[in-house]
């Protein structure tokens, strides 16, 4: 989404985030249904997941520390799912925040743990809040930074040419070819440096889990994760799993705290 962003200067989130068919879209629809095109326009207003989360949290005046996190989470996950269908580059970042929200949500639903968490360790919600708060000053200071008069934009240097200045060459001709080569190499390097990872979609993970659970009845969560898929894979499996629990296709089983978590097929029992 940053690719879209860079073509225009985006201000802070405007009071009217998007205009759809001439009508301002200034409220998040309560039923969560937004036509995909409108959603795209809407989400383009945001710089990233923190920004979107902040907006949701503030618009709803939801105290993230309370149980209302459920509502935000659902909304957030719904957006992320739609975003995924729109095949955006930045989905992984949103998914990571979604995973955090889900973790907060799951903790809220569980009874408090028997052991106290160490004091110096922030809970996920505290950590998320801290990140939001730490991010805000930078989001804000952009206005002031951008207001500074910039060379090439707001002003330019006066440098009246004075002729007859037979300056000796201060650049060796060799430097020129080096400069162009470095330039070409740098561009090429950066174009090739990043090897695009395979797209991992929630839907593909849903199907994968269903097929595994279907044949084996009971599968350990750990067996569904593949190290080579990294953080993105982990998050996607997690979301796919939650989705399947919601659709009552699987259930999660854990014998005791810290024991392995199993996914069990419950669809075939029906």
């Amino acid at each position: 989404m940053n690719a879209h962003h860079d073509t225009n200067t985006s201000d802070a989130v405007p009071s009217v985030p998007a205009v759809i068919n001439g009508a301002p879209l200034d409220e998040l629809p309560t039923d969560l249904y937004i036509p995909p095109q409108a959603l795209r326009v809407f989400l383009q207003q945001f710089e990233g997941p923190l920004d979107l989360l902040l907006y949701l949290v503030r618009k709803r005046s939801i105290d993230i520390l309370l149980v209302d996190i459920v509502q935000v989470t659902e909304q957030y996950v719904a957006y992320v799912n739609m975003m995924e269908q729109l095949a955006w580059d930045n989905v992984a970042n949103y998914l990571l925040i979604a995973a955090t929200l889900i973790e907060i949500r799951s903790r809220a639903l569980l009874p408090p743990p028997i052991e106290d968490t160490p004091v110096d360790e922030l809970s996920p919600e505290e950590d998320l809040l801290r990140r939001l708060r730490a991010y805000l000053p930078f989001r804000e200071v952009v206005k002031d930074l951008d207001a500074l008069p910039q060379i090439g934009r707001d002003t330019c240097m006066v440098s009246i040419p004075f002729a007859q200045a037979a300056r000796p060459p201060t650049i060796a001709v060799h430097d020129l070819s080096t400069a162009l080569n470095n330039f070409i190499a740098r561009n090429e390097a950066e174009q090739h440096y990043f090897i695009a990872p395979e797209k991992i979609t929630t839907e593909s993970k849903v199907q994968y889990i269903v097929s595994r659970v279907h044949t084996k009845r009971k599968v350990a969560l750990i067996d569904l994760l593949e190290a080579r898929e990294g953080r993105m894979g982990l998050v996607t499996v997690f979301i796919a799993m939650m989705e399947l629990v919601k659709r009552t296709i699987i259930s999660l089983v854990q014998q005791k705290p810290y024991a392995p978590i199993y996914l069990r097929d419950i669809s075939s029992k029906r």
């Binding site: 860079d6 009071s15 990571l96 930078f138 200071v141 952009v142 951008d146 008069p149 006066v158 950066e190």
Partner: protein, 188 residues
């Protein structure tokens, strides 16, 4: 040498220079026997700076020295004459620059952690190509990631004398402020 003559010479040099000039450069305008005292040079620069008001160009001190530059209200007119486009930087670009400016030295990973977004390659590339940002070293952690910082050119291009003149970074808001204050000019 009279102050008026020092001003005349210094102004001529600054109007024709391609880069900002420092006091040391300006001294080279004079023969050894006529070279004015540093105090006189500074007085000349001060008086030239003060002439600003009604003139279309004015003297400005930036990180790498003194330079004459155009009054900002004339820039859009002057741009009509050349083919230069007005560069507009996105919020993502500026946030990345702000993090580097205020938190340098900083790694790309730290920037991404703060913004919650993967830094797009072309933002870093533009920052490096603009020479607003440079690699200052490597962080002594696994992978030795590059540490980024701002350059003198960044200060020059943003009309800053030094990093201390950056606009102050707003304080980290309290949770209450974050939820309730009108931070974005929206009506939340």
């Amino acid at each position: 040498m009279k102050l008026s003559q020092v001003k005349y010479i210094v102004e001529g040099a600054l109007l024709t220079a391609h880069e900002p000039l420092q006091l040391n450069d300006l001294k080279k305008l004079f023969e050894v026997h006529e070279c004015p005292a540093a105090a006189t040079l500074e007085k000349a620069l001060m008086e030239l700076t003060a002439e600003k008001a009604s003139r279309p160009v004015f003297l400005q001190q930036v990180a790498s020295g003194y330079r004459y530059q155009l009054q900002p209200d004339l820039m859009s007119r002057v741009q009509q004459l050349s083919e230069s486009r007005r560069p507009n930087h996105s919020q993502a670009f500026m946030e990345t620059l702000a993090l580097i400016a205020y938190r340098q030295p900083i790694t790309r990973g730290e920037i991404e952690q703060m913004r919650g977004v993967t830094t797009v390659d072309h933002i870093m590339r533009t920052l490096l190509a603009n020479e607003w940002v440079r690699i200052m070293g490597r962080k002594e952690v696994v992978g030795y990631p590059a540490l980024y910082g701002t350059t003198k050119k960044f200060l020059d291009d943003f009309n800053l004398k030094d990093l201390a003149h950056l606009p102050p970074l707003p304080a980290m808001p309290t949770i209450d402020e974050m939820m309730n204050t009108n931070l974005y000019g929206d009506s939340a």
